[in-house]
C-alpha cells in the first residue's frame, strides 16, 4: 500500500518537474491574441502566447493605415509587441504550432511543436548582417510577394522577437551548400542542427485567436488575379501604400513600375455571392478599408482618379458614415453602384477594362490598375483547429459560438477572440480579446497571481550628494553602427567630456550578457548617470532603465543617444561625418544626463470594488464578469428594474429568446453575493481618480457613497421618436420596436396585415444626425422574417438606402429575399412620400417611392407602416460623461480612448465603457464589449497598487503667481488651485498629469516644470548641440 502511494507521489513529482505550467494559452499572435495575452498577464495570469509565424503582429502589421482615423497601423501596434516581449507573465512562443490538446477546463495539456528557425534566439541580436550576405532571394511574404527578401531574414523591421529565421529556400537546407550566414554571424547564432521540438504545456484555459485568411482572389479567375499583372488584391495594395512596402510607399504597378493614375476598386470579391469558391456572407470591413485606400491614394497622388464599383455601401460603424462622405466628396473619386466584370487587358499598355451597367446600357472603361477588395475567410487550417481543440465550426467555417456570447465555444475552457467568430474589424477583435480574457479570469480566478511574477529590485542608492559620474556605453550593434561610425574614437571622445567617469564599447549592449555587465560596471565604478549610445529609446529604453534599477540606481538617471536610426543608418555613405555626428549626439546626451534628477514613480492603492453604471444587458454582463472574479460590484440603474432596452426586444436575428436570456441575467445579478444593485438611481457626484473613486448617488436605497477603483459606463441608448411619416398621427405607423412588441403579444391585426411597408434610416444618415444606426437593417429583416414565419402570405416591402446586413447577417437578408420580402432602394434626396388615404373602402397608408432600378414611381398601399427609427444617445449621457470627466463624441455617444486599440477604455484612466452608450450595436456585440470592459477593469482591479509615471509636472510655489494659465492649457484637468502655506497656488495632481508639458510653456514665471524635461535639461542639450570649436568659429 505504502509503495503504491509512493509510486503515485513519484509519478506526480516527475510530472510536475517535466511540465511547463501556465494559466492560459493564447493561440495566435495577431492584434487580438496580443491584447488577450497582455490583459491576462497584467491581471495576474501566466500566459503562453503561441504564434505560428516567426513574429507576432498578424495581419494588422501588414496594413498601412487603419480606418476611420487613418492612424499608422504599425505605429499603434508595435508598442504592443514590446509590451508582450517584456511582460514578466507572457511567454512568447513564435514559429510554434499546436499539435494537440488534452484534458478539460482548468487542466489542459497542450502539445506544441516549435519549428526550427535555425537561429539560436538568445544569441541572435537582430543585427541582420547574415541577411546582407545571404545569396538567396525569394518572394517576401510580408510584402505579399511583390518584392524579394533573403532566405535568412527578419520577417519585418519591427518583428518581435527581433531575430532572424531561415526559410526553406535556404541553399544549405536544400543542397547542403553555402553557410555564409554562419561565417558572418559574430555571435554564433546560426544553428543548422536545430530540429522541430515538442513541448507540453499545462494551462487552465485556452483562447483561440487564429485570425482570418484573406480571400484567395485566384478562386474568382474571371477577375484575372495572378494572370493580369496590374490586378492586385486590397492587401497587396495595402503593402504598396505603406512606406515599408515594396516600393517604399510609392504606388507602382507591376507591368512597368509606373504610378497608376486611373485606379478601380471592385468590391465584394469573394463575399456576398453564392458561387463556387465564394462566400455568401459579407466581410464587413471591405467597404471602409477601400474608402481608406482611396483617401490614401489621393494623398499620394492628388490627380489620381479613383473609381469604386460597389453594391451596398456598408458604413455601419462609428464614424464610418462620415468617412464614406469624406471619401465620396474628394474630387476625382467616383462611387458606382453596379456589378462590374473584367473586360480585357490591353496588350500594349497592360491597362484593364471594366464593364459595368450605366445609364443607357453596359459601359466599358479602361483603368491602369484594378484593386480587388477581397473578403475575410476563416483560417485555412480551420478544420485542424476544430479537431485539435475539440470545438465545432459553423456552416461558413468560422467558430460556432454561443449566440449570446461570441467568445464562448462549444468546449468549456476554450474561448475565442477576433475574426474567428466571423468577419470583424480591429476594435471588435480587441474588445473580444479583453472579453475572452475576462472569461478566462472567471474560470481561473482561484489561481490568479499563483504563477505570475513581479520583478524585485535592490534598494536605490541615494546619489543626491554625489557629483555626476556618467558612464557612456557605445554599441557597435554588430556592424550596424560599427561599420559606419568609428566607435573607439567616440569612446575616447566621451572620456574627454566633463563628468564622464567611464566609457566603453560593446558589440551588442542589448544582449542579456552585456546588460548584466553594464549593471556590474555601474556598481563597480560608482556611476550615477548612464548614457547608452546605441539604437532608439522607443524600443530599448525600458530595457536599460530596468538595468539601472537592477544596479540600484534610479531609472531616470538614464539617457539614450540614438546613433543608429538617427546616425549610422541615415548617414551610411558619410563615415567620417557620421562619426562626428555620433560624438555630437553623445555630447548632448551626456550634458543632459548630468542634469537628470531621480524621480519617484507613485504607488497608489487600488480600491477593489467596481462601479457599473447602467443595468442593461451590457452593464449586467460586465457586473457579473467582474463579480465572478471576486470583486465587489455596485450596479446602478436609473429605472425601477434592470434590463434596459432589452426589455423591449424579444428575439434576435440568430434566434435568441431575449426575454428568457434577460430573466436569467437579472436572476444571476440578484443572486450574486458580490453585486449590490441600486435602482431608480442618479449619480450626484464623482470624485477621485484611477483606483480611488468616490461616487455619491441617490437611489431606492437612499443616499449612498461608494468607494471604487474602477468604473464602467454602460448607460445605453434610446430609440429615436420619429416626427416624420405620420408617426404619432396614425396608429398604423409604428417603429420596429413597437412592431416587435406587438408581434410578441401576438397582435391579430399585425399577423393579419395585408400589406406592410418598412422605411429604413428614419432619423439618421441625415445632416442633423450624421451616422448610421447600425442595427436597423437587421432589425427590419428580423421582424420581416418573424412575420413571414407567422403568416407567409403577408406582403412586406422594405424601402432602404443601403442594406447594411454586415458579416454573417447577410444570410438572413438573402433568406428574406428568398421568402419574397421585397427590397426597394430609395435615394436620400427623393424620400418616400407617406399619406393616409382610403383605398377600396378601407383606410391605408399610401407610400409613394421612386424605384431607381425601374425608374418608376411605385404606389404602395399598406395596412402598416413600420419606421426603422435610429438609435440615439440616451438623454443623460452628457451629464454622466461630465461627472467622469470624459466628453461625448460628435454624435453624442461616449468617446473611447482609441478607436482601434482601446475600444472599451476611456481616455480617463480607470473608467471603461461598453454597450450602446458607445454606439448602436447588437446584443451579441454589446456582450462582447461588456466582457471586454470587465477584462480591462480587471487589469486594474487585480493589483494592489497602480503606478504613476515620475515624469509629471511640479509647481515651484515660490514662483507661482496663481495666474491660472497652466490650468487653462491642461487638457486633462490635472492642475487646480490649492491653498498652501504660501497662499493660493497651482497644484498638480500627479495621477492625472500625462506629462506633455504644455503648461510649462505658458507659465510666465517658469514656476511649473515637467520633470525629466525641465528647462535645465533641455537647455543643457541645446547648449551642447554646437561643438565647442564650431562655436568659436562663428
Amino acid at each position: 500500500m505504502v509503495t503504491e502511494l509512493e509510486k503515485v507521489r513519484e509519478r506526480f513529482l516527475a510530472d510536475i518537474q517535466n511540465s511547463i505550467y501556465g494559466d492560459v494559452m493564447v493561440v495566435g499572435g495577431g492584434i487580438s491574441g496580443i491584447q488577450a495575452a497582455l490583459d491576462l498577464g497584467t491581471a495576474g495570469f501566466k500566459v503562453f502566447l503561441v504564434e505560428k509565424s516567426p513574429t507576432i503582429g498578424g495581419h494588422m502589421a501588414q496594413l498601412d493605415k487603419t480606418f476611420p482615423t487613418n492612424d499608422c497601423s504599425m505605429c499603434i501596434e508595435s508598442p504592443k509587441f514590446n509590451e508582450c516581449a517584456r511582460h514578466p507573465n507572457i511567454e512568447l512562443l513564435t514559429y510554434t504550432e499546436v499539435d494537440g490538446v488534452q484534458g478539460e477546463a482548468g487542466n489542459f495539456t497542450v502539445t506544441l511543436v516549435k519549428k526550427p528557425r535555425y537561429i539560436i534566439e538568445d544569441k541572435c541580436t537582430g543585427c541582420t548582417t547574415c541577411v546582407e550576405y545571404c545569396p538567396v532571394t525569394y518572394p517576401d511574404r510580408f510584402n505579399q510577394e511583390i518584392s524579394k527578401n533573403k532566405a535568412v531574414h527578419i520577417f519585418f523591421a519591427q518583428a518581435t522577437p527581433l531575430v532572424t529565421y531561415i526559410d526553406e529556400s535556404c541553399l544549405y537546407l536544400k543542397e547542403k551548400k553555402c553557410r555564409i550566414c554562419s561565417a558572418v554571424c559574430k555571435t554564433g547564432a546560426i544553428d543548422f542542427n536545430q530540429k522541430a521540438q515538442k513541448i507540453d504545456v499545462k494551462v487552465g484555459a485556452i483562447i483561440l485567436s487564429p485570425g482570418f485568411k484573406p480571400f484567395d482572389a485566384r478562386l474568382r479567375d474571371e477577375f484575372g488575379y495572378g494572370r493580369l499583372e496590374n490586378v492586385v488584391t486590397s492587401l497587396d495594395y495595402e503593402r504598396l501604400l505603406c512606406a515599408t512596402g515594396p516600393y517604399e510607399g510609392e504606388i507602382r504597378r507591376a507591368s512597368d513600375r509606373e504610378h497608376p493614375h486611373r485606379i478601380a476598386w471592385i468590391q465584394c470579391i469573394g463575399s456576398r455571392q453564392i458561387l463556387p469558391g465564394a462566400n455568401s456572407y459579407c466581410s464587413a470591413v471591405c467597404c471602409t478599408y477601400t474608402q481608406k485606400q482611396v483617401i490614401l491614394t489621393k494623398d499620394h497622388d492628388a490627380d489620381a482618379e479613383c473609381t469604386i464599383f460597389h453594391n451596398d455601401i456598408r458604413s455601419y460603424g462609428k464614424d464610418f458614415e462620415r468617412f464614406y462622405q469624406r471619401t465620396a466628396n474628394i474630387p476625382g473619386v467616383r462611387f458606382i453602384r453596379s456589378y462590374a466584370s473584367l473586360g480585357k487587358e490591353i496588350a500594349e499598355s497592360k491597362n484593364i477594362t471594366i464593364r459595368y451597367a450605366a445609364e443607357g446600357g453596359v459601359k466599358e472603361e479602361e483603368f491602369e490598375m484594378v484593386v480587388l477588395s477581397v473578403g475575410l475567410t476563416p483560417p485555412a487550417d480551420r478544420n485542424d483547429i476544430a479537431a485539435r481543440f475539440g470545438i465545432e465550426l459553423n456552416s461558413h467555417g468560422f467558430c460556432k459560438t454561443n449566440p449570446a456570447n461570441p467568445m464562448e465555444t462549444t468546449r468549456r475552457g476554450v474561448f475565442i477572440s477576433g475574426a474567428f467568430q466571423g468577419p470583424v474589424d480591429i476594435p471588435e477583435s480587441v474588445a473580444t480579446a479583453s472579453g475572452a480574457s475576462s472569461q478566462c479570469g472567471e474560470l481561473l480566478s482561484y489561481r490568479r497571481g499563483k504563477l505570475s511574477r513581479e520583478r524585485i529590485y535592490p534598494e536605490e542608492r541615494d546619489v543626491s550628494n554625489e557629483e555626476p559620474r556618467v558612464g557612456v556605453y557605445v554599441c557597435h550593434c554588430g556592424a550596424n553602427i560599427g561599420r559606419i561610425v568609428d566607435v573607439p574614437s567616440t569612446v575616447e571622445y566621451a572620456l574627454s567630456l566633463p563628468n564622464v567617469a567611464h566609457a566603453e564599447e560593446s558589440l551588442f549592449i542589448c544582449s542579456t550578457e552585456a546588460a548584466q555587465k553594464l549593471s556590474k560596471s555601474i556598481r563597480e565604478k560608482g556611476l550615477n548617470r548612464v548614457v547608452v549610445a546605441a539604437c532608439t529609446p522607443r524600443t530599448h529604453e525600458p530595457l536599460f532603465r530596468d538595468t539601472l534599477r537592477e544596479a540600484g540606481i534610479n531609472q531616470y538617471f538614464y539617457d539614450m543617444a540614438n546613433i543608429r536610426e538617427h546616425c549610422s543608418w541615415v548617414h551610411s555613405k558619410e563615415q567620417e561625418k557620421a562619426t562626428e555626428k555620433a560624438k555630437d549626439i553623445i555630447r548632448m546626451s551626456v550634458a543632459r544626463a548630468c542634469r537628470l534628477e531621480p524621480l519617484l514613480e507613485y504607488d497608489l492603492p487600488v480600491d477593489k470594488a467596481a462601479l457599473v453604471v447602467g443595468g442593461g444587458v451590457a452593464g449586467m454582463t460586465c457586473a457579473l464578469s467582474i463579480a465572478k472574479q471576486g470583486h465587489p460590484v455596485h450596479l446602478v440603474e436609473k429605472e425601477k428594474e434592470l434590463g434596459g432596452m432589452a426589455r423591449r426586444i424579444h428575439y434576435t436575428l440568430e434566434g435568441l429568446d431575449v426575454q428568457a436570456y434577460l430573466e436569467d441575467r437579472i436572476r444571476r445579478v440578484y443572486q450574486h453575493p458580490g453585486i449590490r444593485v441600486y435602482t431608480e438611481a442618479s449619480i450626484v457626484e464623482v470624485a477621485g481618480f484611477v483606483g480611488n473613486f468616490t461616487t455619491r448617488l441617490k437611489s431606492d436605497r437612499g443616499f449612498s457613497e461608494i468607494k471604487h477603483g474602477a468604473a464602467v459606463l454602460a448607460t445605453g441608448a434610446e430609440e429615436y421618436k420619429p416626427s416624420e411619416y405620420l408617426y404619432g398621427q396614425d396608429e398604423k405607423v409604428m417603429t420596429q420596436l413597437e412592431l416587435e412588441e406587438k408581434i410578441a403579444k401576438r397582435d391579430k391585426s399585425i399577423a393579419g396585415s395585408r400589406g406592410m411597408v418598412m422605411i429604413q434610416c428614419v432619423g439618421c444618415r441625415q445632416e442633423y444626425r450624421n451616422y448610421c444606426a447600425r442595427i436597423c437593417c437587421s432589425h427590419a429583416v428580423k421582424n420581416a422574417l418573424k412575420l413571414k414565419g407567422i403568416n407567409p402570405q403577408i406582403d412586406i416591402t422594405i424601402l432602404f438606402r443601403d442594406m447594411r446586413m454586415y458579416g454573417l447577417r447577410e444570410d438572413y437578408y438573402r433568406e428574406a429575399a428568398d421568402k419574397d420580402v421585397k427590397f426597394v432602394r430609395f435615394e436620400p434626396e427623393d424620400r418616400p412620400l407617406v399619406e393616409a388615404v382610403v383605398a377600396e373602402g378601407r383606410p391605408v397608408i399610401r407610400i409613394t417611392t421612386l424605384d431607381p432600378v425601374l425608374g418608376q414611381r411605385l404606389l404602395l398601399d399598406a395596412d402598416h407602416l413600420i419606421l426603422s427609427a435610429a438609435v440615439v444617445p440616451s438623454e443623460g449621457i452628457k451629464k454622466i460623461a461630465g461627472l467622469f470627466k470624459t466628453a461625448p463624441g460628435p454624435d453624442g455617444f461616449f468617446q473611447e480612448a482609441h478607436a482601434k486599440l482601446k475600444p472599451v477604455d476611456f481616455g480617463a484612466e480607470g473608467v471603461y465603457l461598453c454597450g450602446t452608450a458607445h454606439y448602436p450595436k447588437h446584443i451579441s456585440e454589446a456582450v462582447s464589449q461588456a466582457y471586454g470592459a470587465a477584462g480591462r477593469a480587471l487589469t486594474l482591479l487585480s493589483h494592489e497598487t497602480v503606478v504613476a509615471s515620475g515624469s509629471v509636472c511640479d509647481v515651484d510655489e515660490n514662483r507661482c503667481v496663481a495666474c491660472g494659465a497652466c490650468i487653462t492649457v491642461c487638457s486633462y484637468g490635472a492642475i487646480d488651485f490649492a491653498q498652501t502655506p504660501k497662499g493660493r497656488k497651482a497644484a498638480v495632481n500627479a495621477v492625472l498629469c500625462k506629462g506633455d508639458g504644455l503648461c510649462n510653456t505658458v507659465c510666465p514665471t517658469s514656476a511649473i516644470s515637467l520633470k525629466h524635461y525641465t528647462d535645465e535639461e533641455i537647455f543643457s542639450q541645446i547648449d551642447a548641440v554646437v561643438p565647442p570649436r564650431h562655436a568659436h568659429a562663428h
Binding site: 498601412d64 493605415k65 492612424d71 499608422c72 504599425m74 505605429c75 523591421a157 505603406c242 512606406a243 515599408t244 517604399e248 510607399g249 532608439t536 529609446p537 522607443r538 540614438n562 543608429r564 536610426e565 538617427h566 546616425c567 543608418w569 541615415v570 548617414h571 551610411s572 555613405k573 558619410e574 561625418k577 557620421a578 562626428e580 555626428k581 555630437d584 549626439i585 548632448m588 515624469s951 492649457v969 487638457s971 500625462k994 506629462g995 506633455d996 508639458g997 504644455l998 510649462n1000 510653456t1001 515637467l1010 524635461y1013 528647462d1015 533641455i1018 537647455f1019 542639450q1021 541645446i1022 547648449d1023 548641440v1025 554646437v1026 561643438p1027 564650431h1030 562655436a1031 562663428h1034
Partner: protein, 151 residues
C-alpha cells in the same frame, strides 16, 4: 565659401510621431545630411519660445520643430500650440534681423520616414543657402544680437 559652410541644425521631435518617423527613416536607410541633430521632447507643445531662440543664440544655424500631423497630437492640441509658437518666433527673429526661414514647423506621422528625411534634406539646403547664423541678413527692425548682448 558656400561649400565649406556646414550648418548646425537642431530639430525638436515629439516622442510619439516625429521621433518615430526619424527612426523609420533610419530603418529604411534613407539618407539625409549629418547636420541635423534631434532633440526628443514629449510633445512639441513643450517646446517654448526660449528654447527655439536659445538654439539660435548658442550658434545653431537653423532650428525646426517636427510634430504629429494636425489633429493627431497625442496630447490633443500640443502641435497646434507649437505651430503658433513657431510662427511667433519667426516674427521675433525677423525683428532682430535674422531670416525667419531659419525657424520652421513640420508635421510627420510615425509612418512618414521618407518625408522626415526629405524635411531634413530640404531644411539643410535652405540653411546652407542662408549661410551662418551670426551674419545679420537684412536691416533689423530691432536691436541686433550684439546690441542685445551688450545691453
Amino acid at each position: 565659401m558656400e561649400c565649406t559652410f556646414e550648418p548646425v541644425i537642431l530639430c525638436f521631435c515629439c516622442q510619439w510621431c516625429s521621433y518615430a518617423a526619424a527612426d523609420l527613416a533610419g530603418s529604411m536607410r534613407l539618407q539625409y545630411p549629418t547636420n541635423v541633430k534631434i532633440l526628443k521632447v514629449p510633445c512639441t507643445g513643450r517646446v517654448d519660445v526660449i528654447s527655439l531662440l536659445k538654439a539660435l543664440e548658442e550658434g545653431a544655424d537653423g532650428v525646426f520643430v517636427s510634430g504629429c500631423l494636425i489633429g493627431d497630437c497625442h496630447y490633443v492640441l500640443g502641435n497646434q500650440r507649437a505651430t503658433k509658437r513657431v510662427a511667433y518666433v519667426k516674427k521675433l527673429v525677423e525683428t532682430i534681423g535674422l531670416n525667419p526661414e531659419r525657424v520652421e514647423m513640420f508635421y510627420n506621422s510615425s509612418a512618414m520616414g521618407p518625408q522626415f528625411a526629405q524635411c531634413c534634406r530640404d531644411f539643410t539646403d535652405r540653411i546652407r543657402n542662408l549661410g551662418p547664423v551670426c551674419k545679420i541678413e537684412k536691416t533689423a527692425t530691432g536691436p541686433t544680437p550684439e546690441q542685445r548682448a551688450s545691453a
